[in-house]
Amino acid sequence: MRDLNVIAAALPGVEMKDGILVVSADRVPAAVAAVKKLGDFMLFDITCVDRPALAAAEGVQASPGSFELAWRFMDLRENSREVLTLKAFLDRADPSAPSVMDIFKSADVLEREVWDLMGIRFTGREKLERILCRDDFEGHPLRKDFVMPKRSRFPEADKAAPEGAVDGRGVKA
């Protein structure tokens, strides 16, 4: 990756904290557009961590927001394994961030994944649909407060078997 200080200076609304670039959610598109302007950067990953439980753990600084959303860029020019990471901390009440799909098209599937699994709403894009879970799935499974459903995904199969029914082994239910 090129010099982080030079990059940080070129991005509007970006602060550098302990070698991490932090931006407020509403200024993300401007910052991402500035990254693109630097040239030879590829948006290749968007990651999200549900933070509150971690903030309580020993040794980790408490973060102002609940969700830590990170846009990760690969430098195609030099030292590509050092990833340029742009982080935003989102409020738990309404976790949302503006979409960057217009700037990097790869954001399309990546944003849908984060919405599906973490429930971060990306605004300003056409449609934000689930991508991995089925359409009628409730909740966002990678959130720490997600309760694992005890029942199977076919509730009708869980209902009591009708009178006199036998299962596959010939045993009466």
Partner: protein
């Protein structure tokens, strides 16, 4: 011939009022051999031409990232091989690297060499599957048999070191799982010659085949700008003319010690280029394995790490050049024995993003070529 008949045979007339057509929806997949897994494309068709396409994925979603939160670091390693099941041995590498960044573990030199050997062998096996299924989609059976014959040898080698043929859990944090058995290095060297022999066979039956060229040359080109825009990595990116390969541009492990060329094609970026690039890359991989087997140093094959391991709280993010592109792992630790969050950056997931943009205007047969040339694996898309 009457004017009316002449008009009927004229292909342009098909678009005219003479033949009124109606758009219809075709679900290609999820159970279809040419979707290479449980992938479904919802196509809106006008005749044989695609009007619009939509990806429907998630049939193989097992929630592995969620499963990781309930397992220890060592227990999760075998799960990583279930992501891209066509290149199982390469999968735990990025995970191991992320853990090593997190915990500051030094990997012994011999382990690094063994990782490179196993990784490159697996890359060849993975590309062989791509070529086999790519050819099979056009009805060419012979390359399929050749490819699986060559792959068999690699699978045997992997079985000897790890006990499994496809979901090879050999690379672990701190090094590799076990020492290679006696005589393995010689057997591996002999296998390389067989692979090269088979690669020449592909050139004889496939690379110059007129039907094959007709179905792949100039079909769905992806330009360099498009490839970067859509987050392409790996062979698909290099086939579009971008010289980018982590093994060469910013080497990890011991890749900087081997003489090999980065395979890159400065051309159209069509389906044939994506095929040909993998052919080039396999030959380069064979070169790397041969040098690594020659230079393989003696010593330990795993650093001293405990099975139940508590890294300090923090985050590790690591990238490797896997068979399908750049694979990344984000591992967040809260200081306990289990990872707080594991995220896998999947190359195929980004590759299929381009499908809805590229599909309109092409025919179904070209769509099949395009899908096969992208070489995606549903295991790592759906996770």
């Amino acid at each position: 011939m009457s004017d009316l008949k002449k008009e009927a045979f004229d292909s342009d007339a098909l678009e005219s009022d003479l033949f009124e057509t109606q758009e219809f929806v075709l679900n290609l997949g999820p159970q279809h051999p040419s979707t290479h897994g449980v992938y479904r494309a919802r196509l809106v068709l006008n005749g044989e031409t695609i009007v619009s396409a939509e990806n429907k994925i998630g049939y193989l979603h097992r929630g592995i990232e969620k499963i990781a939160e309930g397992l220890t670091y060592a227990q999760f390693a075998p799960y990583t091989t279930r992501f891209d099941y066509c290149s199982g041995a390469l999968q735990p590498w990025a995970y191991a690297l992320a853990l090593e960044t997190l915990g500051g573990i030094e990997v012994p030199e011999r382990a690094e060499y063994l990782r490179v050997i196993v990784g490159e062998l697996q890359r060849v096996a993975s590309h062989l599957i791509m070529i086999a299924s790519f050819a099979l989609d056009f009805g060419a059976w012979t390359p399929w048999a050749y490819a699986f014959n060559a792959r068999e040898g690699i699978n045997n080698l992997l079985e000897e070191i790890s006990g499994s043929r496809m979901l090879v859990n050999y690379i672990v944090y701190g090094g590799v799982n076990a020492e290679v058995p006696e005589g393995w290095v010689e057997r591996a060297k002999a296998e390389l010659d067989k692979i090269l022999y088979r690669l020449d066979d592909f050139d004889k039956v496939l690379s110059g085949n007129e039907i094959f060229l007709g179905r792949t040359k100039g079909i769905v080109p992806v330009s360099a700008e498009e490839a970067i825009e859509w987050g392409f990595t790996g062979a698909n990116l290099r086939a579009s003319g971008v010289a980018f390969d982590l093994r060469k541009t910013s080497p990890y492990s011991v890749y900087d010690r081997f003489a090999f060329d980065m395979a890159v094609i400065k051309g159209e970026g069509d389906c044939f280029d994506r095929y040909w690039l993998r052919m080039m890359e396999m030959r380069e991989s064979v070169k790397i394995v041969r040098q690594a087997l020659e230079k393989l140093p003696a010593g330990e094959c795993r650093a001293k790490v405990s099975k139940v391991w508590r890294p300090a709280a923090g985050e590790g993010y690591a990238l490797v050049e896997a068979a399908r592109g750049v694979q990344g792992y984000q591992v967040v630790s809260d200081g306990s024995t289990k990872p707080f969050r594991v995220h896998m950056r999947s190359p195929s997931f980004c590759h299929i993003g381009i499908i809805p943009a590229k599909a309109p205007g092409i025919t179904i047969q070209d769509f099949i070529s395009f899908m096969a040339s992208l070489d995606f694996v549903l295991g790592e898309i759906d996770r």
